[in-house]
Assembly symmetry: C2
Homo-oligomer: 337 residues x 2
């Protein structure tokens, strides 16, 4: 029984309780980045993400082309986190009546660009009306050896695939209604003439799913557990640790922070720990694989950020060696930010 008001963890627990089933080819259901299904002798991955206007994005801030890109790319990030190859997408669009045609065309253009970049085919979808834009994307992919959230063992190292907190910083800049930033982000050429902060805004508006890295980690068997960082490091590391029944140490001084984030925010570490929407990969790796990971880091950014430990606590080891419990707080949605 859940309470009179809804709470996301309660609802997920309810769903898992009610629908936790195996059989008929289902190898992994609710509780990872994507479902894993035996289908025709291969492994099919299925995942779904919703983007709701006013909650997950704002039309005034999100140029439609970027919105289209992001609506697909956040799904590709789920497939990347399984070490899979994204293949097919379904697009559900609920649109207000008075929405302008060119706006929708730009969303589709962005969606098409991202699909093209990652070799994904749009195979179907549905249209409806709504007061606010709602985008629902389903992605199907394939994995030979899917990487789950459950495989981390004490002693494993923790890695992330890029700088953290940039998207959260970018969102804060957008909230300050710096509209010139937004104008720059949509179409301005990269270069020195761009305002500082533009890279942060881009990280928020146009995250890059780490599909190639995820595939390579899975192929080489280098990741023992993996998740994508959508809700913030503290929250998503919490998911990974709970599913693997382990704890973790996070090394504050090792968290990769971009120079822009350090420059523009007085407490960049907070954004890196609790900021959402990084869409980087977080994975654990056995000590025996670290050498190979170092070689891999010549082609893909890879940063060691901590270690898996026994127990269930997540400990932040501060810059002066101070140990403290890392609270899980991420902010996924605009409304709760």
């Amino acid at each position: 029984m859940i309470g009179p008001r809804l709470d996301e963890p309660e609802l997920i627990a309810l769903l898992r309780g009610r629908f936790l089933r195996r059989g008929r080819g289902l190898e992994l259901g609710i509780g990872d980045d994507a479902a894993v299904i035996r289908f025709g002798g291969e492994r099919l991955l299925l995942a779904k993400d919703l983007l709701v206007e006013g909650v997950d994005f704002r039309r005034a801030w999100q140029p439609p082309r970027f919105l289209g890109r992001k609506s697909l790319n956040v799904n590709l990030s789920d497939i990347a986190a399984m070490g899979g190859r994204p293949l097919y997408a379904l697009l559900g669009l609920a649109l207000p009546k008075n929405l302008e045609g060119p706006w929708v065309e730009d969303v589709l253009r962005g969606f098409g660009e991202a699909a093209e970049e990652h070799g994904v085919l749009l195979v179907g979808g549905d249209l409806s009306r709504a007061d606010r834009v709602m985008i629902s994307v389903t992605i199907a992919g394939r994995a030979e050896k899917p990487v789950l959230r459950t495989g981390a063992k004490p002693g494993d190292f923790l890695f992330v695939s890029g700088t953290l907190g940039d998207a959260a910083g970018g969102l804060r800049l957008l909230k300050r209604k710096n509209e010139t930033i937004l104008k720059d982000a949509d179409g301005a050429p990269a270069g020195k003439s761009r305002r500082p902060g533009i890279r942060l805004v881009e990280a928020f508006l146009d995250p890059q799913p780490r599909v190639a890295l995820g595939l390579e980690l899975a192929r080489r068997g280098l990741a023992s557990a993996m998740i994508d960082l959508s809700d913030g490091l503290s929250v998503d590391l919490g998911h990974l640790c709970r599913e693997s029944r382990v704890g973790a140490e996070v090394w504050a001084s090792s968290l990769p922070l971009s120079s822009e984030l350090r420059m523009l925010f007085p407490a960049p570490l907070n954004l890196a720990l609790h900021g959402g929407e990084d869409f980087e990969l977080l994975f654990s790796a056995r000590p025996a694989g670290v050498k190979e990971l170092l070689r891999l880091s010549r082609r893909h950014p890879l940063y060691p950020v901590g270690r898996v430990v026994r127990g269930e606590e997540i400990i932040l080891i501060g810059c002066r060696g101070r140990r403290s419990r890392l609270p899980e707080r991420g902010w996924r949605h605009f409304s709760s930010r």
Copy 2:
């Protein structure tokens, strides 16, 4: 280029134009009830439907258990229309903050019931917030020989799998705010004591996807083309005819109308022709298969309703043999009804 205001057919044309691709296993993309994909030596079906509060349903009219059932069943109907077996579902829920827990539990209970009835596993999904309830369901299934919309040939007979217009009639009764009807629909035992009209309301609130029939038609190769009736006979027959590049004759006097519909509505034929949400199957069949279909009709309701002809017009043959062009008008959404 689409106009400044959006129009659904324009948008679909834009999507098809931009994303009409084959390759990488995709056998059939946008434009049928489900996509058909070669995956690991089998045929994977993927389809998606959106239900938006105030557009596709109203919370005041739709008991939550029925809403949960319907959100899955309309997707199962898409798989049925391909002659496929539904297997796995993903559920996206965007919920208002102030929604009550038990309401959501009832939606999930209904969803779970329908899943159980049809052997479907919920394998994943996503949660978000919204001002109005939005339910996005993706269904994956399997088909050995999918039945497309494209196979109808002049001379084929047209069949439907049940009475038409009941759901549209039920919706009209609900619109009259007959709240006692609604109370009866949710949980009252079937029987003589129930109000007339209750069966119509049930047809709207709790449509039954024709999965078993679709599978059998596909297995026996009896349907040359098939679609499910979600937007109304005139609209969906239009889709089938356009995809098959044929015309059709519809026999008004053969359209199956329930006694309740005849009793409660002065123009039941209009509801049968243009009412949406029947979720019956409409299919074409070669004359050689009609005998076998008659035998099949002992186990599944089957009604011949017309014939496929050359050309592109859809002609209604009235009760006194009068021929007239059948206009395509269906109403899918509350807002446009």
